[in-house]
């Protein structure tokens, strides 16, 4: 294949990072067809092969024997490159390969099964109700991300991990401060240390006195190789990192998106639509931003491009999910449609908490739109602070108001 030297691709040397604001960088349209595996530089200072098409994305993510997860999935965006190749922290299964990964994954899979997650529904409904009641008491405008998006998923995780009731407010504050971009870096780092310390004490407490929760079951249940305290702490931090800000951003960004698409928002009150609609939002918004990183452990060819052993690959989910070869009219939001999207990733590392995320969204979004009559964003569109510079795409602060709160 010869490539036109005047191709717009010639100017693409760096990983595209800016969305606009619901769609991925428009250059992905050209990149997907003309250079589906393209070498680009990254914010972390090393080059990656950027994989942007749907089928290629699935091929790479499914082949975990060739494409290792040992380097953190966002190292190309933040990590300093000297950390590449470092051994994965204990318990942080997204960075383990092969048996080391599946041993952890299969011990946890049952905790996040559809039927297990369904038992959390009454608790999630209660949280959603209480937090909407809380908005009503405070009166608008309020920041939806901080006052609703962040606390609901944090409290769901605290329930799963068995955080004692009296410590949940403290837990919620520390976890929210970690990702609240209105705070300084120092304040966020201090909050991250606080959360880590919290989990050290929580694991210790569960080892001394197990309860009916995920950590206690991992401690008490007979197994060939019990998890030690360090693994449990790593795992608890991972579950928080994976399940908290992701869901918070989905709640916030989906609300803004649906307010911009009122004909779609009108469908939210139909349970049948929610069966497909929540996944359609996950596909359309693809909040895992700028690709997930893998490392080739041997030479391999993807879409005609040779990738050498040791090279890094970034699979750009927001582009794959808009690939017209996978889905007609992929740039359109249509809550009635169904697709095999890769918003939760693909392959053995596909999101473990996906059923929980779906359940939280399918409870939270319709309730926000049903109860907050006249729901609206008060910030002008051009001043909405989108998270182009973050690992998870979303909105840093979304000031909303409403006319009336109904029961």
């Amino acid at each position: 294949m010869t490539r036109d030297t005047k191709s717009p691709l010639e100017s693409i040397r760096a990983l595209p990072t800016n969305r606009c604001p619901f769609d991925p960088d428009p250059r992905y349209e050209t990149i997907r067809t003309e250079a589906p595996v393209l070498k680009v530089s990254t914010p972390a200072g090393f080059d990656v092969w950027m994989v942007s098409g749907y089928e290629d994305a699935r091929t790479v993510l499914a082949d975990a024997e060739t494409f290792s997860s040992v380097d953190a999935s966002s190292s190309h965006l933040m990590g300093d490159k000297d950390n590449l190749g470092a051994p994965p922290p204990p318990g942080v299964m997204i960075r383990h390969d092969g048996d080391s990964h599946s041993r952890l994954r299969l011990r946890l899979a049952r905790e996040f099964m559809v039927k297990r997650v369904a038992k959390l529904e009454p608790y999630i409904r209660r949280l959603v109700k209480e937090h909407i009641d809380g908005l009503a008491e405070r009166k608008g405008p309020v920041d939806l991300y901080r006052e609703f998006g962040l606390p609901v998923p944090a409290l769901v995780i605290s329930e799963i991990l068995g955080v004692p009731e009296e410590q949940r407010d403290e837990f919620e504050r520390a976890t929210a401060s970690q990702v609240d971009l209105t705070l300084s870096l120092e304040e966020r780092q201090a909050a991250a240390m606080e959360s880590a310390g919290f989990f050290v004490r929580l694991v210790q407490a569960k080892m001394e006195e197990p309860g009916d929760d995920l950590l206690s079951r991992l401690i008490s249940q007979p197994t060939e190789r019990p998890m030690d305290a360090q693994e449990l702490q790593g795992l608890a931090l991972l579950l928080l990192a994976a399940g908290h800000d992701t869901t918070a951003n989905m709640i916030t960004l989906s609300t803004y998106t649906l307010l911009k698409n009122p004909e779609q928002a009108a469908k939210l009150q139909s349970p049948a639509v929610l069966d497909t609609g929540i996944d359609e939002l996950i596909r359309y918004l693809s909040i895992i931003h700028n690709g997930v990183l893998r490392k080739a452990v041997k030479d391999v060819t993807i879409a005609g491009q040779k990738i050498g052993a040791g090279d890094h690959v970034a699979v750009v989910l927001e582009s794959a999910n808009r690939d017209p070869r996978f889905l007609d009219g992929a740039d359109r939001l249509d809550l009635d449609r169904h697709s095999a999207h890769v918003g939760f990733g693909y392959g053995p590392h596909q999101c473990l908490g996906q059923h929980l995320a779906r359940l939280e969204l399918r409870i939270a979004l319709p309730e926000l739109f049903r109860r907050l009559q006249g729901l609206r964003v008060v910030t002008p569109d051009e001043e909405i602070p989108f998270k182009n510079d973050m690992l998870v795409y979303g909105i840093k602060k979304l000031m909303i108001d409403w006319d009336e709160v109904i029961a």
Binding site: L61, A62, S102, R105, L106, R107, A109, R110, F112, M113, V114, K115, H338, A340, G345, Y346, G347, P348, Q350, C351, L352, Q354, H355
Partner: protein, 65 residues
């Protein structure tokens, strides 16, 4: 209709259990695929095909009418 499964590849994501809940479930012990109906009626074909397409570990293969 028929299909094959490769249990060893299953990672317990549970996508099959939401795609075709009358045909697939998850084992209570480890979340791994459980086949509820190895010869489902034809009206399940689309759902089984969907489960096969969406399964992140390609556990379900040879979906045949």
């Amino acid at each position: 209709m028929k299909f094959d499964i490769n249990v060893d590849k299953c990672v317990g994501a549970g996508v099959c259990a939401i795609a075709a809940p009358e045909v697939f479930d998850q084992n209570d012990d480890d979340g791994i695929i459980v086949v509820l109906d190895p010869n489902p009626p034809l009206e399940q074909a689309q759902l089984v095909h969907d489960a096969a397409t969406r399964c992140p570990a390609a556990v379900i293969t040879n979906v045949q009418l």
